[in-house]
């Protein structure tokens, strides 16, 4: 059974600082997604990672995937207040299934 674990679950950081959110998963998968959710809103797709060593960057966010370690990271560079949100990773179940298993989310608060 595929399990997805995110760390940390809560993250409070100052503007201008760097930090990393980790997403570990328990079984082999061929795809991993990162989403952002603002309070009371829906989920917004950030990145899709499909192969070992994949790296995607958008603004101050960079996501990477290590399929051998079953680990993805979401790195935040020089955080700004607008990045405050909850970030979810989601991992695709193997075998061509369309099912995704989500982590519990990391609530990020960026303080001035």
């Amino acid at each position: 059974e595929l399990k997805v674990e995110q760390n940390p679950l809560f993250l409070s950081m100052q503007e201008g600082k760097n930090y990393t959110i980790y997403c570990n998963y328990s079984t082999t998968s061929d795809r991993l997604y990162w989403y952002r959710q603002d309070p009371g809103k829906s989920l917004e797709s950030l990145f899709v990672l499909l192969s070992n060593g994949a790296v995607k960057q958008e603004g101050r966010l960079m996501a990477s995937l290590d399929t051998k370690a079953r680990l993805s990271t979401l790195h935040i560079t020089a955080a700004v207040h607008d990045l405050s949100a909850t970030y979810f990773c989601a991992v695709g179940a193997q075998g061509g299934s369309e099912k995704l298993v989500f982590g519990k989310g990391t609530k990020l608060t960026v303080n001035p």
Binding site: D30, K41, S42, S45, V48, F88, G96, E98, G105
Partner: protein, 115 residues
């Protein structure tokens, strides 16, 4: 943004009553999903559909049924609502190109309260 609407957006109901939530898409995507979101649990898949009249269970399907009679509509029914089904329900869609690599796009959500 993907064309996904959910109705109703908010609903309060009583234990034991039937409830149907509707998801409507204008993207003609093949796959549709229902998730529930609860504090401390992230999102959990309830049911999904891979075509008209083709559905399958997710990890928390007990107490829920679904139907898809048209490509654009996916209905989630709680036959007899319980307080444990108080949650925020999200519909999602994706257009698989055969390897399940496509992103799932989410609707605005329905907040359901069962008293």
């Amino acid at each position: 943004d993907a064309g996904i609407t959910q109705s109703p957006r908010h609903k309060v109901t009583e234990t034991g009553t039937p409830v149907t939530l509707r998801c409507h898409q204008t993207e003609n995507h093949r796959y549709m999903y229902w998730y529930r979101q609860d504090p401390g649990h992230g999102l959990r898949l309830i049911h999904y559909s891979y075509g008209v009249k083709d559905t399958d269970k997710g990890e928390v399907s007990d107490g829920y049924s679904v139907s898809r009679s048209k490509t654009e509509d996916f209905l989630l029914t709680l036959e007899s609502a319980t307080s444990s089904q108080t949650s925020v329900y999200f519909c999602a869609i994706s257009e698989s190109r055969g390897r399940g690599t496509d992103t799932q796009y989410f609707g605005p959500g329905t907040r359901l309260t069962v008293l």
